[in-house]
Symmetry: C2
Subunit: 319 residues, 2 copies
């Protein structure tokens, strides 16, 4: 009987789920609307039914080792989702307890960026590394940290919030209520804010000047940069500086072998990697220079969110 793990990635809008084999390949996958379920029990019941259908649809006989779940504000130690601003389920949700009770599957949960780091460790570019960091550049900036071959959860399960390290104590207002957090500069949203700042500072014409704030995506910005748009190019330059400088602080903590970038903004490839690496190297302490890699995720061809969550189950339940 073939062993498989369930991977679930809970997002504010959509939840992605899949059945993943030991190599990280999704044998089957699906998507459901997270927002339809005001109560967590209803959500888990519906998810469980979808997982049952998915398992039955796999032609081989399979044995489920367990389920791994990535969720915003997910706590590994407690199996809870706590005060997640973008989910309808308020307060402290005992997710793992409810999931196992309703579906019968063993469950382990962590936050989405930590799940990505576990995915990178088990299936991706971190397979032979003991020390690395994963940065997800999406709406915000998430991070998962691996030290001595183990995920860093911190004493309370909430380690790895590099998006909320500070670039400028008097800087941009952040959704967390503070100012100048890295994610207000280095993320899909952050580069958009930089573009609008640059439209005020610069006088050059730009295709981006025809797009309203609410419609502009990081894809629009990278497309414009590819065509030589001066504002888009400068926006990537500044984003790389913010990120590269700040990652030098991360190195002074952890001295990882590699920092992997993934998520929407990382899709811009060298547009974001090149300036990030350049400012990073320029600012590193001498002892760290020319030896720490900044690479795109090694999970680009997988559904990283589902595979990462499933990797957590493989790691914890299939020892």
């Amino acid at each position: 009987m073939k062993k498989v793990a369930i991977g679930v990635d809970i997002g504010g809008t959509f939840t992605k789920y899949g059945i993943v084999d030991k190599a990280g390949t999704a044998l089957a996958e699906g998507t459901m609307d997270t927002t339809e379920y005001p109560e967590i029990e209803g959500f888990i019941t519906a998810l469980g039914e979808r997982l049952d259908l998915l398992l039955k649809a796999i032609p081989e006989d399979v044995e489920v080792v367990g389920a791994g779940v990535g969720a915003p504000n997910g706590n590994y130690y407690k199996g809870t989702i706590e005060f997640a601003p973008n989910l309808r389920w308020k307060g402290v949700v005992p997710f793992c307890e409810l999931f196992t009770k309703i579906t019968g599957f063993k469950t382990v949960l962590t936050n989405d960026a930590n799940a990505a780091a576990i995915g990178e460790m088990i299936f991706g570019g971190g397979q032979n590394m003991r020390d690395f960091v994963v940065i997800t550049l999406g709406t915000g900036l998430g991070s998962g940290i691996v030290v001595n071959g183990e995920l860093v959860n911190g004493h309370d399960g909430f380690a790895g919030e590099l998006g909320h390290t500070t670039v400028d104590y008097n800087g941009r207002v952040c959704g967390c209520g503070r100012k100048g957090c890295l994610e207000t500069y280095a993320s899909a949203t952050g580069i958009k804010r930089t573009v609008f700042e640059l439209m005020a500072i610069m006088v050059e014409d730009s295709a981006l000047r025809r797009i309203p704030f609410d419609d502009l995506t990081s894809k629009d910005i990278s497309d414009a940069a590819q065509k030589g748009d001066p504002i888009a190019i400068e926006a990537f330059e500044r984003t790389g500086r913010y990120l590269g400088y700040k990652l030098a602080d991360t190195v002074a903590h952890l001295s990882p072998e590699c920092i992997f970038l993934m998520g929407g903004l990382a899709q811009a490839g060298e547009l974001i990697l090149e300036p990030t690496r350049r400012y990073f190297e320029e600012h590193l302490l001498q002892v760290y220079k020319n030896k720490i890699k900044i690479l795109p995720s090694g999970m680009e061809d997988m559904n990283a969110a589902i595979a990462g969550a499933a990797a957590l189950a493989w790691k914890d339940f299939a020892k």
Copy 2:
């Protein structure tokens, strides 16, 4: 036969050494002049002779499990001291290899702040903690990080240089060749620089205005603050702000249970602890508030440098 470990703390000026039992008590200790020995072999030979005399002076029969050594730029993985600016032995010194060859003792080496963290783990306030950080506030700012119960060495053995995270990219010139490093603000030297900045900014009279830069110590500053000196008090306030704000970045990486402060400037006690805690709490991300302790070292009554180095030997050789 009583088991003991040798602890050696190599500083730029003095080297301290001792014979330490399993509880962290130094049964015997001594100090030698590091600068007298232009060649590392001569230094180790002299140290070995002193250790032999020390061991013979202990009334009980003892068995040495090994030697732990803390040294600037010490590399745990390689057992080397590499390009230490304040030592006479240049380039890469294969310390452990030479020490074992000359003295016959098994040896393990790390940098001085990492040795302090191991000391805190084995003998001090970190005994029941899996995740904590030790900050040494001396001439510079050193740090040792413990995650999941293990010291963080990083991929190259050089993790934990929090003194070289950046407070201000256009800030004070640092000995490392960059600008605005935390240790140029938060250290015995850093607070002295702040005092001189404040003498320019403020008009209040102060006893510190009668002391030249080269003579002023952090002890003078804390003595003045105790007496209500306005410049000294403001200097502690600002030092606490720099340190507290920046430690919030460390928490966003690691979420430790506790941050221990030790070293010369930490001797100022609440003068430095109170503003550090206040600005730290003010700036923490919500999820971390009111649960991470900032405490003085739990090794205050020991010779922390020797005990920390010996703890490394206990940890690695007496499993």
